[in-house]
């Protein structure tokens, strides 16, 4: 104890154990994968080491007597608005290790959340609102390129019309919410199974992420989007044909400009088999796709994938929301993509350099409105569907995203929260105490796919109901009528520039 390093006391959390309630049952000791709780043989009681606590609250959740309370350690540093404690702690850490600061989950930094600065409309008197419990309400969404016009031929005898235009493949969603790309490896097999089942049950899709698809999940293929990323992990012919759509991942909101990182600790036999990499080796995806250096190159890959899937699967291109996102999206639309996915800077990750996560990219709200506007201005909005991702927290955010111009949204962090995640942000350690971002056999058991699938399906249903209620309130009976309908949005407390970028009026106007 005497010889601990000088910065050991600058830890983030304190474990409060109420001695009146603690019965020394050791449940906390068994639950903590960071060994913050331990059995003290000498004292014959459960003790804890605050320096090891990551603030995941697993012990608190399972403590049968509610004896535990995890709280932030009040900072003892002198208040300084420039040198906030996080900067000091980071510098101490790096001075010790000489390494890049790693981080997990979405960025916690204080950048404006425009969802909270936008308000929805509702009908009063003149255009009656609709009660979704009594009247039909349509949330069905089709993702894929839509034809500019429809041609029909009429049978002269029967007088019946027949569609002449050949439609491109579409994804049919019962609810405009999909489970975002989280690879098998970043999260474990139990959760992949749960996402596959929940997506099938609720009539939506889940995305494999860049870690391939385990053979045993091919049966859920009709509700699976398979991803092709720069590392090409797990990509082969059967995989491309197994899903209902293919997504080319160019960028990720949490770490624009760099590739995926899966630490070797998380690569066990099953992950290794699915990803086609050796057990225990780091799976580092290159920053760029080495075959994409232009829109023309992207076009080649899009068509190579369409060819490989015999033009049965729509192809999506996922990019991070960055400064010129609208122009890039226009290029992607022109390169033949059926869907463009835009991932905002608050999107989650299993592992990213903290500096990139917290300083690179732009918020999804601004990117989304700009992409939608640009595609409309250029008259190519119908060529692609737009999917928004990165920091969607509730059905209110979903409906605002759709009003800003999205066809559907991806939820990643919310998906994990539904199964217990507390956003402690240590996904990169592979020791997730909630059994989510880990492939450790003992820890991943903590996610029972039966329970997880039910929770995920519940979340989608609950949000679906809320969306129906809000739509009805606005006097709309179909999600189609809301798409890009920015007249249903008003801004509060934001500048003219922000209003202009979002394409909305200020509240009161």
């Amino acid at each position: 104890m005497l010889f601990q390093p000088i910065n050991k006391n600058y830890h983030e959390f304190c474990i409060d154990r109420d001695p009146d309630l603690c019965i020394n049952c050791k449940v906390c000791v068994r639950q903590c994968s960071y060994e913050a709780h331990y059995w003290d043989e000498t004292r014959q009681k459960v003790m804890h080491d605050n320096t090891k606590c990551v603030g995941c609250h697993r012990c608190e959740a399972l403590c049968p007597t509610s004896a535990l309370n995890i709280r932030n350690k009040p900072s003892d540093f002198r208040t300084n608005n420039l040198w906030r404690p996080v900067f000091l702690q980071n510098i101490y850490k790096q001075a010790d290790t000489g390494g890049v600061l790693l981080a997990g989950m979405g960025s916690p930094v204080d950048i404006p959340v425009y969802w909270d600065r936008m308000l929805l409309d509702a009908s009063q008197v003149t255009n009656p609102s609709i009660d979704p419990l009594r009247e039909p309400m349509e949330l069905k969404t089709f993702l894929g390129a839509k034809p500019r016009k429809l041609d029909f031929s009429v049978n002269k005898k029967t007088g019946k019309a027949k569609l002449k235009t050949k439609l491109t493949p579409q994804l049919e969603l019962d609810v405009p919410i999909m489970f975002a790309a989280m690879s098998f490896g970043a999260i474990n097999f139990n959760l992949h199974r749960a996402m596959a089942r929940a997506a099938t049950e609720t009539g939506t899709f889940y995305n494999t992420g860049e870690g391939g698809l385990h053979k045993s999940l091919y049966k859920y293929g009709d509700h699976t989007i398979v991803q092709v990323a720069s590392g090409r992990f797990g990509v082969h012919r059967d995989y491309l044909k197994a899903g209902a759509a293919i997504e080319i991942k160019v960028g990720q909101g949490a770490k624009p400009g760099i590739g995926g990182h899966l630490p070797g600790e998380k690569i066990n036999d099953k992950v290794s088999e699915t990803r086609m990499v050796p057990i225990g080796s780091d799976a580092i995806s290159p920053a760029p796709h080495h075959d994409i250096y232009s829109i023309e190159d992207l076009l080649q890959l899009i068509y190579a994938l369409k060819e490989a899937s015999e033009y049965k699967s729509p192809v999506s291109v996922k990019i991070a929301a960055v400064h010129n996102v609208a122009a890039i999206a226009s290029g992607i639309a022109r390169a033949g993509a059926d869907i463009i996915t835009i991932d905002g800077m608050r999107g989650g990750t299993g592992a990213a350099p903290a500096m990139i996560r917290d300083n690179v990219g732009i918020p999804i709200e601004l990117a989304l409105s700009q992409v939608d506007q640009r595609l409309r201005d250029e008259g190519i909005r119908n060529n692609v569907s737009v999917v928004a991702a990165g920091g969607i927290r509730c059905s209110g955010d979903v409906i605002k995203a759709i009003a800003l111009g999205a066809d559907a949204v991806y939820i990643g962090t919310a998906t994990l929260i539904a199964v217990g995640c507390t956003i402690c942000g240590r996904c990169y350690t592979g020791k997730c105490p909630w059994g989510i971002a880990t492939n450790d056999t003992k820890l991943s058991k903590r996610q029972n796919p039966d329970i997880a699938a039910k929770k995920l399906a519940n979340l989608i249903r609950a949000w679906g109901h809320e969306i129906e209620e809000m739509l009805g309130g606005m006097g709309l009976n179909s999600i189609e009528s809301l798409r890009g309908n920015r007249d249903k949005l008003r801004g509060v407390g934001i500048s003219d520039t922000e209003l202009d970028i979002l394409g909305i009026k200020h509240a009161g106007r």
Binding site: C25, K26, L62, P64, K442, K445, D450, I451
Partner: protein
């Protein structure tokens, strides 16, 4: 009959089932009093035991077998099979503490009473409205109380 079935695939070894069992079988029905006082004073113990080996763990308690070896081994009539409910019932008053049942049980599901010449065995929380306490307490659905063929 409905039995408690453990699932080793999803048992996370938290031992909360044991704590629930102790509470359900305590006088106070209060975990803190049961664990701190009744356990030491009255020899209160859980009918359930979590077995662990490597990464695998599983919570074992009496399986209320159709043909129970413990009943066959019992010399005093302290264990019998209830023909109506199908449960293997323990009569504490008849038990002489010979531990024959302990040795006969192939699952290690019977425990010695810590202080008395008696045994501790699952009674499926007889009379408890919500069913067995362990099943209710399991945070991961690794204990199921159901009818199986």
């Amino acid at each position: 009959m409905k039995r408690v079935y453990p699932d080793k695939e999803y048992c996370i070894g938290c031992h909360l089932c044991e704590l629930a069992c102790i509470t359900a079988h305590s006088k106070s029905k209060d975990l803190i009093i049961a664990f701190r006082e009744e356990r030491l004073k009255d020899g209160l113990d859980s009918c359930k035991k979590v077995f662990e080996k490597g990464d695998t763990c599983v919570a074992i308690s009496c399986r209320h077998c159709d043909e129970p070896s413990c009943v066959a081994a019992c010399i005093s009539g302290g264990l019998h099979k209830d023909p109506e409910t199908g449960r293997t019932v323990y009569d504490r008053n008849k038990c002489v503490g010979c531990w024959s049942c302990l040795m006969a049980c192939p699952y290690g599901a019977i425990k010695r009473h810590p202080t008395e010449s008696k045994i501790i065995k699952c009674d499926l929380c007889e009379g408890r409205e919500e069913g067995p306490a362990c099943v209710q307490a399991c945070p991961n659905g690794a204990l199921k109380f159901e009818e199986r063929d």
